[in-house]
Amino acid sequence: MLMVEDVHFSYSSSIEALKGVSLTVDDGEFVAIMGQNGAGKTTLVKHFNGLLKPTSGRVLVDGVETTKTSVAALARTVGFVFQNPDHQLFSETVEEEIAFALKNFGYAPDVIEKRIEWGVNLLGLAQYRKTSPFMLSGGERKRVALASVLAWDPKMLILDEPTIGQDHQQKENLRQFIMQLQSQGKTIVIVTHDVEFVAECNPRVVLMREGKIAADGEGKEILTNPQVLKESSIVLPQIAQVFSILNAPGLPKDVIDIYEAKTLLLKKLGVTSR
């Protein structure tokens, strides 16, 4: 379990990036942290694995305060995949990249080989095992970074903007993959601007604004609230937008699922389903 208690954080004396954030994430939860650029989302999640330490307040991972342990020790529990893969990748080949942390954690060579095999297949990188990550496209590099963290099987996974540069199919793979990890009891925290992706996954949404939590609740509830979203520089998902514009009597506005939308509209249009 992750507990964030009244955390304040300043990068320098003048700007306070987090202004008193409290949040609990239970084991096995799937949380999307959303909000406008500069709201403090990345700053907040960097506290989850101890990359940043609060200026005041506390962050506890499984009951251990992040100031009382090392990032290396926390990393085994909390895996972090950065927004920009170039901040993370440095090895000469994809397989060396994936092997790096595993070696540091002291895994046996045959286990490392299996994990690499598993990771490259899972993320569609098998043909690039011997390729330099820097020869790959932006979207592919992002998946290498993800594979390298998944390989050591952390209990909690933080993905900062995982859908950037990913195409439709890869986003769908990512969604199924997150669902699969969740069914294995993993905790998943994503930082994202991708409203359509969040609408499809319907996780718990934590909305941040100016270093504070502005809203916290079910995805469907928050993503269909135009006022709250606009204040956070987020647009409604397209399905919710259609219902918001329609504003028709007898039609709800809190719809983000395309099939629910279809059923409601067919009924309203008086079309009997074929």
Binding site: Q83, G138, H168, Q241, Y259, V271
Partner: protein
């Protein structure tokens, strides 16, 4: 008038065993807004690098075929010459920014083209205003967030007012409302100044509405090229794995069930909502 004309273009990066784009032919007319999309690794970014001669002049490797941009041979013309015609916004803004302040970064291209001080000041202010970075003018680009850096990279290209602007996922780090505002600005410049725009994007839900024409690439080849609505309605687009906007998909689901909506494929939620409003009136 064709502003970009590519015929049978094939390119292989140095040391690569397979070409990244193969036998690509396409035409972009003056004043068009073209959207290029396709699965990750399909060659979109590589193609963008040919428009201003970075391929082959900077990346080297092997290029075959013909590429004419603004009546110049982009493969042979010096890149500084191509830069007068084509502005390129890279996928990763960090690769593009280098000056110590935002203002200097935005002014850099103009300095190289030898504009007067007055004209430079005017254009830099204009570009910073359009992209909403005026307040950041004295900040160092390297201390800013990814989204802010993207705004600076876009401003630097807009300031030059080239004939063609090529943008490779230019707003990926921006929040949705900011991204929409930037796309609106680019669309507006396309309509008012006649600047041709080539936009590479996966997120058609945000961008399909702006496009006059869509090119879909897959495995280094151009697979589909044509009218936006026709391409979004085609089955082949789905088979390639392109993400269709949710409003377009919902329209199709409704039509398949016998809803009698107009034949025009909607590109945005506004268009679909309008159709539904009409249908509900009757």
């Amino acid at each position: 008038m064709a502003l970009i004309e590519i015929k049978g273009l094939t390119y292989t990066y140095p040391g690569a065993t397979q070409p990244s784009i193969s036998d690509v032919s396409l035409t972009v007319q003056k004043g068009e807004f073209v959207l290029i999309t396709g699965p990750s690794g399909c060659g979109k970014t590589t193609l963008c690098r040919t428009f201003n001669g970075l391929i082959p002049q900077f990346y080297q490797g092997e290029l075959k075929g013909e590429i004419r941009v603004a009546d110049l041979d982009a493969a042979k013309q010096p890149t500084y010459e191509m830069a007068r015609h084509v502005g390129l916004v890279f996928q990763n803004p960090e690769n593009q920014l280098f000056a110590l302040s935002v203002e200097k970064d935005v002014a850099f291209g103009l300095e190289n083209l030898g504009y007067s001080r007055e004209e430079m000041r005017k254009r830099v202010d204009w570009a910073m205003d359009l992209t909403g970075i005026t307040d950041l003018r004295d900040r160092s680009p390297h201390e800013m967030s990814g989204g802010q850096q993207q705004r600076v990279a876009i401003a630097a290209v807009l300031a030059m007012q080239p004939e063609i602007i090529v943008l490779d996922e230019p707003t990926s780090f921006l929040d949705p409302l900011s991204a929409q505002k930037i796309f609106d600005v680019i669309h507006d410049l396309n309509k008012t100044l006649g600047i041709s725009v080539i936009l590479v994007e996966h997120r058609l839900d945000l961008t399909a509405r702006y496009a006059d024409h869509i090119i879909i690439m897959d495995q280094g080849k151009v697979r589909l090229d044509g009218d936006t609505r026709a391409i979004l309605a085609s089955d082949e687009t789905r088979l390639i794995g392109v993400g269709i906007p949710k409003a377009t998909l919902l329209y199709e689901l409704l039509q398949n069930e016998g809803a009698n909506l107009p034949e025009t494929t909607p590109l945005s939620s506004e268009e679909l909502a309008k159709m539904l409003q009409e249908a509900l009136k009757n």
